[in-house]
């Protein structure tokens, strides 16, 4: 038995040390100048290849016979991101990685999987080129990733019905105004206002756009009055005015609000540029009205939430070709992104041909949009970056919101629970 214990102990120690030290080899760079004349870069991202990345990569490959890029798509869900993390961990071939949420980026940075881009960004100043919105991706005062895509946030409006009721297309509006619009429009629709149910926590991010998630005392801001106001508004819209689908019903029926909007059953659909791919496709998604665009509403006296900058590209620390990888990232951020415009992605970098991209995002259906209002949405001023809660907190928020909107607990309980979880999390992190 004694030997057995010893063996176990040895294994245990071995495992702990082996695991702890494993990534040390990751940083070695052999540079691109080795003997083989062709370099292959492995580029992983969550965007389906047919939505643009494949075309972009093809164009690059044509012009760079010596640096070929291979695109691998992962599904941007828990499973897919786990796959990315473990591939990074096990040293699978990966040179360039696109992360789709700052939370995921943070995990990867903490594990030293990615290169600090400070050496490269001297010529390409990220905040200069992309604007303050890029700060969403800043970690430890530096950048490990370049966001490539301005993902416009907007509310799609059924313009025909708006005109019938003499409602103008708002260039900036408050939640109260949204509520008023919804009440007026409701007679024409099953629901005058709707959103994808998994974005329902957005109202909280929206409410804290100026205040931030954490207050000056380092405590949770989730008990801010705006949060309560926003949640109660949704509740009222769902249960009292019935202008918005009840959460339980929406979940239960696996409701597809985008489809209902196109069918003319929903008047205002809170979404973003990612839905343009669908509304552009008039063949598959027939539609007999024009769409106008309004920015996300803001709370009284607060800023409008700015567009997300997303799809942030990093160089994997273990890559043997970081310089080539950077070259590709820079190209992709500026020129390559044009291939993604038809999928609703507008390049975030100011060096990129944004005008051209903006024309492309509505390609094929220009006549069915109020383009002026779309441009307004892109140009809107006085915006603030949206805060991203960490996963533990986000999950808890979603759970509490489900319970609240399904009528199982009142608003005060809901907020109290969210605040508790959040504060515990803050305390643990420090």
């Amino acid at each position: 038995m004694k030997k057995f214990k010893l063996l176990t102990f040895a294994l245990l120690v071995g495992a702990l040390t082996a695991c702890g030290g494993e990534n040390e080899g990751g940083g070695e760079n052999e540079g691109g100048g080795d003997n083989s004349d062709e370099v292959t870069l492995h580029f992983w991202g969550g965007v389906p290849p047919e939505n643009g990345p494949q075309d972009a990569v093809d164009e690059w490959n044509e012009n760079h016979p010596d640096v070929q890029v291979e695109y691998t798509r992962y599904v941007n869900e828990d499973e897919g991101n786990m796959k990315v993390n473990t591939s990074l961990q096990t040293g699978e071939d990966m040179d360039i990685l696109m992360s789709h949420s700052p939370n995921h980026l943070e995990e990867r940075v903490q594990s030293n999987f990615l290169l600090d881009l400070a050496d490269y960004t001297e010529e390409f100043d990220i905040e200069d080129k992309i604007g303050p919105a890029a700060q969403r991706w800043k970690m430890d005062d530096t950048y490990y990733a370049v966001p490539t895509n301005t993902n416009a946030l907007f509310i799609m409006l059924n313009e025909d019905k708006l005109e019938e009721h003499d409602l103008s297309v708002p260039e900036s509006w408050t939640w109260e105004e949204v509520h008023e619009y919804a009440k007026v429009l409701n007679e024409d629709f099953s629901y005058s206002y709707a959103l994808d149910y998994d974005t329902i926590h957005g109202i909280i991010q929206n409410a804290l756009v100026d205040e931030g998630l954490v207050n000056e005392q380092g405590k949770s801001n989730l008990d801010h009055e705006n949060v309560k106001e926003g949640l109660e508004l949704y509740y009222q819209m769902m249960h009292e005015d019935e202008v918005m689908p009840k959460l339980s019903e929406q979940v239960a029926t696996n409701m597809q609000p985008e489809q209902m909007f196109i069918n003319g059953e929903i008047g205002m659909y809170q979404a973003g540029a990612w839905r343009l791919r669908m509304t552009n496709d008039l063949e598959e998604y027939e539609r007999d009205f024009n769409i106008a665009f309004a920015p996300y509403p803001h709370f009284e006296g607060q800023s409008t939430p700015a567009h997300h900058v997303e799809d942030a590209m990093s160089i994997v620390a273990a890559s043997e070709h970081p310089d080539e990888a950077w070259e590709f990232i820079e190209w992709y951020t500026n020129e390559g992104m044009l291939h993604l415009a038809p999928g609703g992605r507008v390049p975030a970098s100011e060096d990129a041909p944004a005008e051209e991209a903006r024309e492309k995002i509505v390609g094929g259906a220009e006549d069915t949009y109020n383009l002026e209002s779309l441009n307004n949405v892109y140009e809107i001023e006085d915006t603030e970056m949206i805060v991203d809660p960490p996963y533990q907190v986000l999950d808890s928020i979603n759970q509490q919101l489900e319970a609240y909107f399904m009528g199982e607990q009142d608003i005060d309980q809901t907020i109290e629970q969210m605040v508790n979880v959040h504060n515990e999390h803050i305390q643990r992190e420090n």
């Binding site: 695991c19 030293n112 339980s248 239960a252 979880v421 515990e424």
Partner: protein, 292 residues
């Protein structure tokens, strides 16, 4: 004598391959997990991991999701007695004279072998609150407000319970059927002579006779209810509003969504302790019902 001794030593050879594997893949990870539960291992690679003493266990005390998952897990256990009771009833009927006995037995057993994931997706559609066959049937029976099943936090766990009971009932039936074969004819005959009715015989003779089996089925079922989360992960992911989150699922989420591997180990160890308590019950109870 020497030869006999040698033959005894050969015993080790027989179990050696298995023992090595079990040590590597079960025993060692178990000890490792125990060690991890006292660390703050976070992130995929665990950089900067330190021992943090009992901190994780203290955190458990105040972790509301853990409490909820723990409570849900006990509610989830309901499917075990339900499937045992129905299993007993069906077995008793099957054991009496019926036609097509083999076919019926097979039909009842089939769900037990089927992938919980596949069958979970089927039930998910059957339970669709507005269009699914179950609620449409209920509405046609005059129930105007049928439950929202998986879509409502009040009823979701009950839908899961129905699925699980349905799935494991076949196992219970088969085990009961075998046990019923052993009920001595004389006992039944004697009871009949005393003028006992059929259900009285079932209640007073058969049920006590198979009670050790009942205990066995309850224990196995309960232990499994603390182990399996595939069905729930696939069908609800623990929602809505955490109403179907159970401990094994929470371990999985903590480990591979939040990457808090240390804390996940802590929850897992507590889970093990719960199951271990049940094992002890089995161990001490077995003398009463295991007959070689």
């Amino acid at each position: 004598m020497n030869w006999m001794k040698k033959q005894k030593l050969i015993g080790y050879l027989f179990i050696l391959p298995s023992l090595i594997g079990v040590t590597i893949f079960f025993l060692f990870p178990l000890l490792f997990s125990f060690v991890l539960s006292f660390t703050n291992w976070t992130g995929p690679s665990g950089q900067g991991t330190e021992f943090v003493g009992l901190q994780n266990f203290q955190r458990l005390v105040g972790d509301s999701v853990f409490h909820q998952a723990f409570g849900n897990n006990f509610l989830y256990l309901l499917h075990v007695p339900i499937s045992v009771i129905f299993g007993f009833i069906v077995a008793v009927f099957l054991n009496r004279s019926v036609y097509l006995k083999n076919l019926l037995r097979a039909v009842f057993f089939l769900p037990y072998l089927i992938s919980p994931i596949a069958i979970g997706f089927v039930w998910m559609l059957l339970f669709n609150p507005t269009e699914g066959p179950i609620n449409v049937l209920l509405m046609n029976l005059g129930i105007d407000n049928p439950p929202g099943w998986l879509a409502s936090s009040g009823s979701s766990m009950y839908a899961i319970i129905v699925m699980s009971a349905w799935q494991i009932m076949g196992f219970n039936i088969i085990i009961y059927l075998a046990a019923l074969q052993d009920v001595p004819r004389e006992l039944e005959e004697a009871a009949k002579m005393d003028g006992a009715k059929r259900w009285q015989i079932t209640k007073n003779v058969i049920f006590p006779f198979v009670s050790p089996i009942t205990l066995f089925l309850l224990i196995i079922g309960i232990a499994n209810a603390f182990k399996n989360f595939g069905l729930i992960q696939a069908v609800t992911g623990g929602g809505p509003a955490n109403s179907t989150n159970i401990l094994p699922l929470y371990v999985y989420q903590t480990a591979f969504r939040y990457y808090e591997l240390g804390y996940a180990s802590t929850i897992a160890i507590v889970l093990f302790i719960v199951i271990f308590a049940i094992t002890l019950l089995q161990w001490f109870g077995q003398k009463k019902w295991v007959h070689y």
